[in-house]
Structures are given as C-alpha cells and as structure tokens.
C-alpha cells in the first residue's frame, strides 16, 4: 500500500517536563503513523516496539498513543 507522508503537528508538545534534553524538537510528539514514517517502518512495527518495551509511548488527551520524537531519536541512536 502506498502511503503518503503524514502531516506532522509540530505544535504537539510532550506533557511531561523535559529531562534535560537540549534538542527542542525532541519534546514533539508524533502519532503512530507519523513515527512509523519517520523511521521508515509501519504502524504495526511501532506498536510492536512499544509492546516489547523498546519505545516508551505517551498518550494524547483522547487516549491516542503518541511517540515522543526524543524516543525515536534514542531508538535510532541506541542501534548505531
């Protein structure tokens, strides 16, 4: 299935206070499909990574799973 890039909402900020991360963008939260697009995988994989404890999710007020951008950066940097 061809997928178009999801529109990122740069205004969504993490509810939790920053834990000393100096990159302002790391506090941005992405939806599951946005997170999947960002690291070149699919939504199923992102949810699997969350289930296996490799990604720590956050929740939007409606309960939707959100992935802090900092978590994605940590995941990619940890693998290198």
């Amino acid at each position: 299935m061809a997928s178009s890039p999801p529109v990122m909402n740069e205004e969504r900020q993490q509810n939790q206070p920053s834990t000393g991360d100096t990159m302002a963008s790391t506090s941005v939260q992405l939806t599951v499909s946005e997170a999947a697009y960002t690291i070149g995988v699919d939504s199923f994989t992102i949810l699997g990574l969350i289930q296996r404890g490799k990604l720590k999710p956050a929740r939007s007020p409606s309960g939707e799973i959100m992935v802090p951008k900092g978590e994605l950066i940590r995941l990619i940097e940890k693998g290198r």
Partner: protein
C-alpha cells in the same frame, strides 16, 4: 418509524449494531474517515494473522540451493516461510544454518532509518520448534492488532468529541469501537444500562 428527538433513527453502519441518526451518521463518517487508511491496514493484517497457523504447512521449505538468507545477530539465517507482509517490512520464519534452531525475523528495507541503525533483520522470537514458534508469534501479532484497533478508536474519538459534541459522540464511538473490535475478531458486548425502578414499598418491605 423509529424517531429520536425528531430524527429518524435508522442507519446501521457496517460491523455495528448501533442505530445512528443522520447527525450521528455524519459524525461517524468524519471520525471514521480519520482512521480509514489504518483501518484498512488493520483488516489486511488480520487476514494474514488468521492464516498464520496454516502458513508453515502451506509453504514448503526451500531447497538448499534456492534458500534466501537474512543476517541477524551475526548469523546468516535461512528463510523458511514468509509469515506476514507488512507495508514496509516482512516477517519470516527462518532456520539456523547449522543448528536445530528457528527464529521469527522481521526484515526491513535497507534504506529505512530503523534498518540503518539496527540492521535489516531483527529477531523477534527464537526456539527449537518451528510450529510452536509460529503459534507464539501469531498470539503476539494478534495482541498487537488489538492494540492497533484500540488506538484507532482513541484517534477517532478525538474527532467525534471535538467536532460533533452535539451528536451524542458516545453513541458514535460505540459504533466505531464495535467495528474496530470486529475487525480484529472480537465483539464488544455493551450492556444497556439497567433502568432502576424505584419501589416505594409501603408497609412490609419487599
């Protein structure tokens, strides 16, 4: 004809038993549109997961000279069967080249940021019994699909409650929840609230 607050109560949407008014149907359509591409992906995935227990029987092992190999954790695993085809990856049952060990490996495209950091092959499960391993993975995949369905409901809820607060978004969400749960092989049994009737006992209490 059934009416509620002056509107015809008649529309039933796919995968749900909830009757919606025209206003609620508009809310349902808008909320469902927000999750439609992912819902299609969910259904497509569920069809594959349903077939997983039979996959190992239907796909004969490749002959040694045609077998594809996947590198994971420093081992060149031999691909035995493709279990799932995801939009941007594949899940395969693989065999250790020299030992009696099997692994469920997810293969990512080389150009994805995840593969560049973690390698193209990632071992999800390992074990000596291929059939048992596939069964275990099927349970795990089913759990992920339920998680996916529940997340879609939360996403749709945001649209229903924010954009259509006057159209009983709770009822709209019940219809969407039923459809999403049905897509992953579950049914939502919501009991209608029992109407409490107050008994005014006079004399001897009942």
């Amino acid at each position: 004809m059934l009416k509620r607050k002056g509107q015809v109560v008649g529309s039933i949407v796919p995968g749900s038993t909830v009757r919606l008014t025209p206003g609620q149907l508009n809310a349902y359509t808008a909320a469902f549109e927000a999750i439609s591409p992912e819902f299609d992906e969910l259904r497509q995935m569920q069809r594959q997961v349903d077939k997983l227990p039979h996959t190992i029987l239907e796909q004969p092992s490749s002959s040694p000279d045609t077998v594809a190999t996947i590198a994971a954790e420093g081992i060149e695993w031999q691909s035995q069967a493709q279990l799932l085809t995801l939009p941007k990856s594949a899940v395969l049952l693989c065999r250790h080249p020299t030992e009696n060990e099997f692994a469920i490996i997810q293969r990512f495209p080389a150009d994805s940021a995840y593969a560049k950091a973690n390698g193209q092959g990632e071992i999800l499960l390992k074990g000596a019994d291929a059939g048992h391993l596939v069964g275990e993975y099927a349970g795990w995949a089913q759990h992920t699909l339920r998680f996916m369905a529940s997340n879609l409901v939360s996403k749709a809820q945001c649209v229903a409650f924010e954009q259509f607060p006057e159209h009983n978004p709770g009822r709209v969400m019940r219809a969407i929840s039923e459809r999403c749960l049905l897509a992953v092989g579950e049914s939502l049994t919501v009991m209608e609230p029992v109407r409490q009737t107050t008994r005014h006992a006079r004399g001897i209490g009942v």
